[in-house]
Subunit: 120 residues, 2 copies
Amino acid sequence: MIKISDAELEVMQVFWGKKEANSFDVIEALKDKNWSDNTVRTLIKRLQAKKAITIVKQEGKVYYYKSLINENEYKIKESNNFIDKLYNGSVSDMLLCFAKENKLSKKDLEDLIKKIDGED
Amino acid sequence: MIKISDAELEVMQVFWGKKEANSFDVIEALKDKNWSDNTVRTLIKRLQAKKAITIVKQEGKVYYYKSLINENEYKIKESNNFIDKLYNGSVSDMLLCFAKENKLSKKDLEDLIKKIDGED
DNA sequence: AATCATAAACTACAAATGTAAATTAAGGAG
DNA sequence: CTCCTTAATTTACATTTGTAGTTTATGATT
């Protein structure tokens, strides 16, 4: 599976938020990170090399890219890896840990159940 | 905060599981990883350099170490970082994502609520 | 057509990481 | 006391990552 670094992930999040984007769009979207334009361009290039994004069109000398990775699929996979690493693969263990530290209440879970019901 | 790499984390998990351990204990505990002994020793050394573990005693030329990092605190912090990165800081968003992909059911959440009640 | 602005590409470079070999030092065997 | 074993320490080295400067190529301007 494609390995995406933290900095690259920030760029991916931009592509996940739009159907397509050019370098400048990404630079704009990540302005609050205070990265140099070249830094963003490097990250885009690396994502392209990793085949996480691809060029969809060209306008003058500007390229437009789009994500080749399914956002939810990727996030689920990464989440599972994470939970494997820290909580021995048990979502419940993680949530119990959160609950124990008061990061997650009974009410949060109840609300969530309602939301899930709503989705079905 | 101390930054622990994936490989180092495996070693930390061993220390979190025992009050103290020497290099050989860790090598044994991680046998299934098929790492060379020296690899494990390097990781122990790096964790020591990072002050994630410390020597607690010496027997002959063998050192015993113990974790200096609180397991739950560390895991919560890392989990929060992770959720920030992928789910914009929302535990609920993550759980909804899991639910959407059938990785988490209403029943799981109900069971969890019971467990949390049990803990109070 | 010559020049300029700038997007894209290439190069750079230190720190972190995975992975382990080589070297050193110290306790135990003879 | 000398030598062997082996734990510990040091050194190694390619890859990834964060971060950005330098060079090139190309469309726009005069």
